[in-house]
């Protein structure tokens, strides 16, 4: 009799119901699923990695969040598996698959994707005779007119510090060219000396200074604000983008089974089902349609197939020290600190990280 092989898995959401489907098809494999909260998963994986107890398959956002494992040789190189199965490789949205590439090798597969969009309330726009803005200046104009009508223009809460990163990450992508960003987001070469970074922070701080973000932003909880938006109290809410990946540990004893599970999870059938049941977008080409998703999201993803790269979440794609400095200083920025001082803090952290990684 064959012994059941155990493949352990840690992620922050989803997977439980798929586990049963997979085990039905592969009776000799036993999937051990552990769910962890989104806040805790990065730290949990660090601790497990330090203790040599990485699960066989684990969740990681794209960028440095995953690269730190790849650099340390803690993740399995999936490139050979992809070369054996080009169909599997080509099924992913290229921009999301590319975010898990380190040193030319694929170290993870995206099972979910996210793209940042700004939502607006049609009702509020109609009530205030506003057109949907298409340029930044039009957007500012809309904010100004809403403010004049005493409507809070942008729903924003920053009691957990990462919400600033959505804006600043996006502005960085707008103001700093891709090559410079890649070099700065790399812990070995981060400098953040490009004036675009300061401009990005300033653009964000201007939103706050002009009062578009509402009041008392540092104590407002994002989820609470989102609820208020959904219930019609606020006007708009920002929703850059990012891939949510599964990587296989280099220490995994049953890599073939682990990869089989990844293929199963990212199969078209499972991906369509995942999006339909949870509303969370998958990362496959043609994976999001009006059948399994919302028309708004389907429309948003039509363009996603043509992206060559995605500006990864700023708090995930840089070293933890840089990200935390960014977030803490931005929070101080909402309380009056200048953009120059904020970027000076970031430069200092990046320099320290670069020295430690030499």
């Amino acid at each position: 009799m064959m012994m059941a092989m155990t493949v352990s898995l840690i992620a922050w959401c989803g997977g439980k119901e798929k586990e049963a489907d997979f085990e039905d098809a592969h009776p000799d494999v036993d999937i051990e699923y552990e769910n962890t909260s989104v806040q805790a998963i990065k730290e949990k994986l660090s601790v497990l990695a330090a203790g040599g107890d990485l699960p066989d398959i684990f969740f990681a956002w794209g960028g440095e969040c995953l690269n730190r494992f790849s650099r340390a040789g803690r993740t399995l190189d999936l490139t050979p598996y992809m070369e054996d199965d080009p169909e599997w490789r080509d099924s992913f949205l290229p921009s999301f698959l590319s975010s898990s590439v380190y040193d030319g090798k694929n170290y993870a597969v995206p099972y979910r994707s996210s793209v940042l969009y700004m939502l607006y309330s049609k009702q509020v726009f109609a009530d205030n005779n506003l057109d949907v803005p298409e340029t930044w200046d039009e957007f500012i104009d809309v904010c100004e007119r809403l403010k004049a009508n005493e409507v809070a223009p942008i729903a924003f809460g920053n009691s957990d510090k990462w919400y600033t990163m959505w804006y600043v990450g996006q502005f960085n992508a707008n103001y700093v060219d891709a090559g410079t960003r890649t070099s700065d987001y790399n812990p070995e070469s981060g400098a953040f000396t490009d004036p675009g970074y300061t401009k990005a922070v300033q653009t964000f701080l201007d939103l706050n200074d002009k009062g578009y973000l509402g009041t008392n932003v540092n104590s407002q909880d994002y989820y609470q604000v989102r609820e208020e938006f959904a219930s019609g109290d606020e006007t708009s809410s920002i929703v850059t983008g990012g891939s949510e990946n599964y990587a296989v540990s280099a220490e995994c004893k049953h890599p073939d089974e682990a990869v089989a599970f990844l293929k199963f999870m990212t199969s078209k059938e499972q991906a369509l089902k995942q999006t339909k049941e949870t509303g969370l977008p998958n990362a496959l080409i043609g994976g999001i349609t009006e059948d399994n998703s919302d028309p708004v999201i389907a429309a948003a993803y039509e363009t996603a197939e043509d992206y060559t790269a995605i500006a990864e979440w700023l708090d995930q794609c840089v070293d933890g020290n840089v990200a935390n400095t960014y977030m803490a200083s931005l929070q101080e920025g909402l309380d009056g600190k200048t953009a120059e001082d904020i970027i000076a803090d970031v430069q200092k952290a990046a320099k320290e990280v670069a020295e430690a990684n030499k």
Partner: protein, 293 residues
């Protein structure tokens, strides 16, 4: 015979001693050792850096912010959980309060039974400028609270968290003091009454000396507790805005697990250990617990 007894004593002490050494003392030494290295959970590098982590610590602005915040917690905790709490305990022990003592004791004690997470989230909602009840209440009382954002402003957030902590734990020390007060022999007070001592004199010359040990224990618990302050801050502001409410323990956690600077975190941890150790030692010496009776 005596020697045999000695052996038995040693044998009985051994398991406890063994566990204390393995679980308590060994990690302290490992931590001290690791604090001389630059290393992270993820990186394969483990490089000897001497005192670099300690030098970095003493040059780190956030470290001093954290230290200052721990002092705020310490001072408010001693004032409220020792000073005010002792007064409350005495009032509850007064003859005219005896009948309603149970009621007040429960009222004061119940918060300390709640989870910090629950209290933290509730408190966060109460003081929230948009959905909270505190600001509207102050408005009703005639104060201008429209700009008041307790947890969102860097200047006052630490005091707001400290206040929450006092609300939660004052009842706990009140109970401990009441128990100690009830153990004071009634004759002492009767004798003092005969000598014509007033309430203040009785408090300072009978009550305080009699419950010295309890005061000591409570002080050690609250003071070392405020040096290790972590959970209240984590639930309410997580060190924000910026680094305004960071304490040594939250900063240690972030250095180690978020920024992956385990060596630096070890240095911070060792500093916390030394501070608590010295405080504990100084208090024990100051009160000369061992010299009693």
């Amino acid at each position: 015979m005596r020697k045999k007894n000695q052996r038995t004593v040693e044998l009985y002490l051994f398991p406890a001693l063994f566990i204390v050494i393995i679980v308590l003392y060994l990690p302290i030494f490992i931590n001290l050792y690791e604090s001389f290295f630059s290393w992270g959970a993820m990186s394969t590098k483990h490089e000897f850096v001497g005192f670099a982590n300690y030098i970095k610590m003493f040059k780190d602005e956030v470290f001093y912010v954290a230290l200052k915040n721990n002092m705020i917690f310490m001072v408010t905790s001693v004032i409220f959980q020792i000073g005010i709490s002792l007064i409350i305990a005495n009032v509850l022990e007064c003859k005219f309060m005896r009948r309603s003592q149970n009621f007040f004791r429960s009222i004061y004690f119940i918060p300390s039974l709640l989870m910090v997470t629950v209290v933290g989230i509730a408190f966060k909602m109460i003081v929230s400028p948009s959905i909270g009840v505190l600001n509207p209440l102050l408005e009703l009382a005639g104060a201008d609270a429209s700009k008041m954002d307790l947890l969102g402003n860097a200047g006052g957030a630490t005091y707001a968290i400290a206040a929450m902590s006092q609300w939660q734990y004052i009842g706990y020390t009140v109970i401990l003091f009441i128990v100690a007060l009830q153990n004071i022999p009634g004759e002492l007070y009767e004798a003092a009454d005969i000598d014509g001592a007033n309430a203040v004199k009785k408090f300072f010359y009978i009550t305080v000396p009699e419950i010295k040990d309890t005061i000591l224990i409570n002080t050690i618990i609250t003071v070392t507790g405020s040096v290790r302050e972590y959970d209240e801050v984590f639930v309410t502001t997580n060190g924000g805005p910026g680094y305004a409410t960071e304490t040594l323990a939250t900063y240690l956690y972030k250095a180690g697990f978020r920024n992956d600077q385990m060596g630096y975190a070890s240095a911070l941890a060792f500093f916390i250990f030394i501070v608590t150790f010295i405080i504990g030692l100084a208090q024990m010496k100051g009160y000369r617990l061992d010299d009693q009776q």
